[in-house]
Symmetry: C2
Subunit: 353 residues, 2 copies
Amino acid sequence: MPAAKLTLSIDAMGGDNAPDIVIEGLAHAAKDHPGVRFLVHGPKARLEPMLARHPAARAASTLHDVEGIIPMDVKPRQAMRQWKGTSLGNAIASVAAKEADAVVSAGNTGALMAIAMLQLRLVQGIDRPALTASWPTMTGKAVVLDVGANVSANAAQLVEFAIMGEAFHRAVFGSGRPKVGLLNVGSEDEKGHEEIKAAAKLLREANVDLEFAGFIEGDDISKGVVDVVVTDGFTGNIALKTAEGTAKLVSAFLKEALTSSLQSKVGALIASKALRGLKDRMDPRTVNGAVFLGLNGLVVKSHGGTDGKGFAAAVNVAVRMAQSHFRDEVAINLARLTATLAAAQPAPAQEAS
Amino acid sequence: MPAAKLTLSIDAMGGDNAPDIVIEGLAHAAKDHPGVRFLVHGPKARLEPMLARHPAARAASTLHDVEGIIPMDVKPRQAMRQWKGTSLGNAIASVAAKEADAVVSAGNTGALMAIAMLQLRLVQGIDRPALTASWPTMTGKAVVLDVGANVSANAAQLVEFAIMGEAFHRAVFGSGRPKVGLLNVGSEDEKGHEEIKAAAKLLREANVDLEFAGFIEGDDISKGVVDVVVTDGFTGNIALKTAEGTAKLVSAFLKEALTSSLQSKVGALIASKALRGLKDRMDPRTVNGAVFLGLNGLVVKSHGGTDGKGFAAAVNVAVRMAQSHFRDEVAINLARLTATLAAAQPAPAQEAS
């Protein structure tokens, strides 16, 4: 797909190894997406010579000189007071000013969310924003949200997450009609807490146009039972990090096993190509790029510890989102939810089916 | 440790492949724990010939004839009304009547918990029971609770879980002074919802004698950062099942990689001993035996789909728990918590440190 006239705003100074990994990422991205422009926010004197080594990225970039940075350990409240004159703050400001279609940063997540909320504001009809992560499964890729923008979510907010996540899956993974599941402790209707039961009822009875598959359990995520996993930010964050930890544990056990004897080392050497393939498949960089949904502007968060290849993956997510009709499609489904909620206001929800 | 005079009550008919796996499990357990007696609840005419094939198990067992069973798909409410005359119900009744020190069942989890609550009642000072799972980590084994007895937990209940989980880790894994962590979305003090913050404050300020390590994140579980992971049953159930799903996903990817070419197959064959070792290490049967804590009697739930070896692991957990001072130690720490909560009743909690 051509990506003409797309402009991305880049925080050059966010992340553990910025600006190096950011510039390397842009070098990859410039090749992958010819025609996309980058507004690169950071100290010009430092970035100029780095960019000079990557002519394609250099040609696609406009440097916006700014000295300040948001430290990785600053608290969101503090970040909101001092964002002006920082690479992160100015990168978001470019989206707020409609100079760019999306912003990509590997910086402090809490600060990014707080400054983005402040500058971009919530989309009308959205009550809470959500952080969305991509998750490899047996059958492809699922998206999980919220993975940490909030610590709780009520029924209507969970339905908003479902609407945004479903449109996200179509935009980023090009699926036709993704299946949506609510993460719960059992698949039977009577399982779970009140908010999740009410959310399931809303998804079935509100006139929202999406494929709702009901409740799913934790092990269903990796099985690929659904394409979109909806949950509150507390549960989603813990599920995501627990999965990351488990994958690392199994990898460490595998490494130990394959280096435990001379014989196992020989076997591993012979199977090394296949094992490298496995490593690539489990590479967290390939699913890098959590998207902060629900704001008037696209915000993509790269993992802070990623490298150039990982940053390029986050840029790729921003390109696909910006090229899609994500916002229009969310708006249509949101209007349906809002109508249902408004109709339910005076009396208990009517059977709409 | 000698296990003289210990009696376990066994539900012979619970589980997907009962009674076969139960009797096989008892054959293993009778060898591992000479001196332990089994009260085996189930249809005598069917069990008698199976037991006859395992002389050690036969010698250690007393059959309690009962025809009824609790189906795997029955709802807890229904199970509570019809437990009499079932293998599961009668197995629990043996513990209630003090004829046995613990009960082991691979049956329906919801029914097991409901009937156990009804017959054994909560320990005085415990507000909610908790289901406890063992979790392999980089450094050994952690216990995680609650993994699904309840769908929520307030601050005091989380502290009760901490007290029970800590004593459980010492009882089952023989650790000296296990570290306890609260599962959260960040390690900083201001992260998370109100109940978890209040629980952290209680664990620091109440005069409870345990090693509290503060908040941990999802990926810290597998790292082995703490020995006891405390969380509500909704989050814990989802974290546990998400980890199981992820481990299966990685194993499936590994298998695909190692069978992807002739060369990788040869490598895998040469490294087969090491790969078998990895498989054993990840074998869910080795951590089988979730314990339902907080009742006046020990209740061990085996995975429904396990085999004889897995059932024996659950029996092993029951033996270790029954041999330990678990209940006395929990009672001591509970009394401290109760005193702190009582002191905090009229006014906000006093600084106790």
